[in-house]
Symmetry: C2
Subunit: 192 residues, 2 copies
């Protein structure tokens, strides 16, 4: 089935070009024309796989989500058996912070995606659902299953990520802010 193989290869080639444009020039620079130039194909060929800018951006965000999931899974596996809740939270949130080059590139895509979605509230339900699941998961690891603290912790992580990407905070500052917050949350009810 040579046609099917070509199709998959071409799609991967275009998707890779899309991710490079998004990471280097910003997600707002993603267009049929830019992606076609980067992939070395025609705009019509790009349009065969991604019909609109919205489809391209959603695809880019899905790639970033998959990569983040893989990073988190690997980092948690590296903790060994039976990590405690604080370790799990620290690993989870710390891994999602854009500290290395790869995760900074992905973080820029995610930030641009959120900025793009913020003016298109019709697409919010899925984001809302994903965030609610995340808050619930984080809450389950916190003393007292505290979902308000979990919502704050997730927002703290997003804000730190934003300031890391903008260069306003250093890696050390961001990690110190995350660690002291975890200390605070775990000490508050630690009566041992």
């Amino acid at each position: 089935m040579p046609k099917k193989v070509d199709h998959r290869e071409r799609r991967t080639q275009i998707a890779d070009a899309l991710m490079r444009v998004a990471a280097e020039q910003g997600l707002e620079a993603v267009s049929l024309r830019h992606v076609a130039a980067e992939a070395g194909v025609s705009a019509g060929m790009v349009q065969h796989y991604f019909r609109t800018k919205d489809e391209m951006m959603t695809f880019a965000m899905d790639v970033v989500k998959d990569r983040n999931e893989a990073r988190v899974t690997a980092a948690i596996a590296a903790l060994g058996p039976d990590p405690d809740p604080r370790q799990l939270l620290r690993t989870f949130l710390g891994t999602l912070l854009p500290l290395g080059d790869d995760s900074r590139a992905d973080g820029r895509v995610a930030l641009a995606f959120l900025a793009y979605k913020a003016v298109r509230p019709t697409t919010a339900p899925q984001l809302r659902e994903e965030t609610a699941q995340m808050v619930s998961f984080l809450g389950s690891l916190l003393p007292g299953n505290d979902e308000t603290a979990a919502a704050g912790l997730l927002a703290l992580m997003e804000g730190l990520g934003m300031y890391l990407l903008g260069g306003q905070y250093t890696d050390e500052q961001a990690l110190a802010a995350l660690d002291t917050q975890l200390d605070r949350l775990f000490k508050a009810t630690d009566r041992s």
Copy 2:
């Protein structure tokens, strides 16, 4: 001097159109063509006042900063004489959260601006300086002049703002997360 008056009026007209395009369609939609159409003038006329997209975006962000400053100043004035540090912090951060329609529109511009700047690190020094000043100011209001806690608090506010704009958090959720964090920070060293 009729020419000078025309000039100022025209500039205001174009600047208003720019802010409407940014708030309604997203900052990434800001272009000579879009702004010209919204203002009902030629693209050449827009270019006379704003030469590049970067100039337009920086202008939009400056307008948002001025409006935020005015909102914060008014809210703090309304506290009356001698507000305590916690009240000041709550008013300051709560006013910067995108809760009303106007501040949501401004928040979308700010979020898009940060996403845009995140791929252009050469422009970071000014942002870094402004953020450092903000952290220092917030720290001065916290028990123990705690700058790490202040950096976390500012990031929390940004993250809450992002989730408010994306519709992931409700107003109530965001304010609860802010208030419980302030409780935590002020209780930690409250030995009265």
